[in-house]
């Protein structure tokens, strides 16, 4: 018997797409916080540039991950033991994505219109990114619960693993 290793399942689009925005957004927040501790040098400008770039790609990826998560939800909720966790996972992921999206546009706006001092703008953006990162980590934790506690979208092998022989 051959193993039913069909990885081209709709519900697996989510794990394929979700890890990039997690990395980018957490990276953007971490780099922005690091840049706060550096005063007026070329390195600070480069870190800010990197953070903004990661934020842009992270936000784009996060919306794609939310779309793929919606596809996965209706499939895994028919199988797992507590569908409520999926709902909380989606809610927190959406909250975090809205926060990061808002932070991105606010950052563009603050840079363009100089509404507040540069230093103040940095602190505002860093605070919002940290807030988003906290929500994102909690959403990721709930995602971990879905996979490692409830086996969401995970193939269950037969007891004797005959399909792998």
């Amino acid at each position: 018997m051959t193993a039913p290793m069909d990885l081209w399942r709709i519900e697996l689009l989510h794990p394929v797409t979700v890890h990039f925005p997690i990395a980018f957004l957490l990276g953007a927040a971490a780099i922005m916080v690091v840049s706060l501790g550096i005063n007026g040098s070329e390195l600070k400008q480069q870190l800010r540039f990197c953070s903004k770039l990661l934020l842009f790609f992270g936000v784009c990826g996060a919306w794609i991950a939310i779309w793929s998560g919606g596809l996965a939800e209706s499939i895994v909720n028919r199988v797992i033991c507590d569908p409520e966790v999926t709902h909380r996972h989606a809610e927190w992921a959406e909250r975090a994505t809205y926060v990061f999206t808002g932070a991105f546009f606010l950052w563009i706006g603050l840079d363009k219109y100089n509404a507040v001092s540069k230093r103040m703008a940095e602190w505002i953006i860093a605070s919002i990114l940290l807030l988003g990162a906290a929500g994102l980590v909690y959403a990721a934790y709930l995602g971990g619960e879905l996979v490692y506690q409830q086996g969401a979208a995970v193939y269950r092998t037969t007891e004797q693993c005959v399909e792998f022989e």
Binding site: A23, D82, G144
Partner: protein, 138 residues
């Protein structure tokens, strides 16, 4: 050039950080996995009745359809005390409608379900998941 190299380096760093955080989440989630199976003997609140079967308890919920999601073949039912229940229909779910004239149940389908309809849903409770067995439209 230096900027591009920095971005590539920082991307790698952030990927590493994320893998770390995901691993920690996974370890915590794994550590919290109950080792003793929980029995389905606790009655469900807001149900008209609950009975235990070999494959999980059976619950009967009476309420109004709060939302119908045709693409998912899913409905949300809200009880008079405001509790919301989610049901994903499966191939075995039977939908019936009470004929007002004869007061008998006639076969119906998911497509007949509308928001605010009064329904009685009998479901098999597996963990916290409710698999609908019968949906009776009143």
């Amino acid at each position: 050039m230096f900027r591009i190299l920095s971005v590539i380096g920082l991307l790698g760093l952030s990927m590493g950080l994320t893998c770390e955080s995901i691993s920690v989440g996974a370890v915590v989630a794994y550590a919290q996995t109950p080792t003793v199976p929980v029995s389905n003997t606790v009655p469900v609140s807001n149900t008209v009745s609950v009975s235990n079967t070999m494959s999980g308890s059976e619950s009967v919920i009476s309420g109004k359809v709060h939302k119908v999601v045709p693409s998912e073949r899913e409905i949300y039912v809200i009880t008079p005390d405001g509790k919301k229940y989610e049901y994903y229909f499966n191939k075995d779910t039977v939908v019936t409608k009470v004929n007002a004239d004869t007061n008998t149940a006639v076969p119906s389908s998911f497509e007949d379900l509308r928001k605010d309809m009064k329904v009685i849903v009998t479901a098999r409770k597996i963990g916290k998941r409710l698999d609908p067995l019968t949906v009776s439209i009143e």
